[in-house]
């Protein structure tokens, strides 16, 4: 069977423009949005949280969104403007992490939720270490250096 090619026209589907700070229990980034549907704002926060998890474990495992426990969404159906993204690590185990993630658009609170992430070994479920580890390191480094 021929492979199916999906063209999203998004470069690697990275929904972050910049990571300005990453510490042991917090991360902050930005994304310029232009009439983006709210679900893309949620995806942006999920990517920020997953990057912090990978940063904490030095990219040694694959991180994925385990679930969203709660999330307040804006009344408006679209997000436009400079979006400040903040993640705070609330609790964790050796392989699961819980974050409070918030998005503020033009100084107005937009999304506020509790996101959970978990780790998987590279090699499990098709997570190719050779490709993904260097890919995430490179993207994180690019985002950190603006």
């Amino acid at each position: 069977m021929d492979p199916i090619v999906i063209r999203s026209n998004l470069s690697g589907f990275v929904m972050l423009d910049e990571i300005v700070d990453a510490g042991p229990d917090s991360i902050e980034g930005f994304k310029q949005l232009d009439r983006a549907p709210v679900y893309l704002g949620v995806e942006t926060l999920a990517q920020l949280g997953a990057f912090h998890v990978r940063y904490l474990i030095d990219f040694q495992k694959h991180a994925f969104l385990l679930g969203i426990k709660s999330c307040l969404l804006p009344q408006k159906g679209e997000l436009s403007g400079n979006c400040r993204l903040v993640g705070r690590l609330e609790s964790r185990s050796s392989s699961a992490f819980s974050y409070r993630l918030t998005a503020t658009v033009e100084d107005e609170a937009a999304i506020d939720g509790e996101f959970m992430f978990a780790l998987a070994e590279y090699g499990e479920s098709g997570f190719n270490r050779d490709i993904l580890q260097s890919h995430y390191r490179k993207v994180f480094s690019c985002l950190k250096s603006g």
Binding site: G67, S93, S95, A96
Partner: protein
């Protein structure tokens, strides 16, 4: 609330079950049907409630069967459990060894032992 009460509350929230279903002797996987994804959420909840380090491999006895591979019948198996899982006492190790054929052996009381052990290490 005591350790058991906190763990029971976590389990009832995550697994959407009644509190009456959870006792210290309840099997977490066999009786309550907890899946790996539930255990990850439970780890987060326990860390949040008790402020102790949670090692998922240890608390859920994940390496139990591999640590028993090749153990003889001369008490070596029990000693291996005690070495691998320092929060398990000798009596419980004996129970576990007699229960391996029934499936996953993890009980609520093992979670309680782990939290107590970790709290003790933290000097709580």
């Amino acid at each position: 609330m005591d350790i058991f009460g906190e763990i029971r509350e976590s389990l009832t929230e995550i697994l959407d079950i009644e509190a009456e279903q959870v006792t210290p002797e309840t099997y977490v996987i066999r009786d309550l049907g907890a899946e790996s994804i539930d255990l990850l959420e439970l780890s987060i909840s326990l860390n949040s409630r008790f402020k102790v380090e949670i090692n998922d491999e240890e608390i859920y006895l994940k390496s139990l069967r591999s640590c028993l591979n090749g153990a003889g019948a001369n008490g070596d198996a029990g000693n291996r459990i005690l070495r691998q899982f320092p929060f398990i006492n000798g009596k419980r190790a004996g129970e576990i060894l007699g229960d391996l054929e029934g499936g996953p052996v993890l009980k609520v009381k093992d979670l309680m032992s782990y939290v107590s052990w970790r709290a003790g290490k933290n000097g709580c």
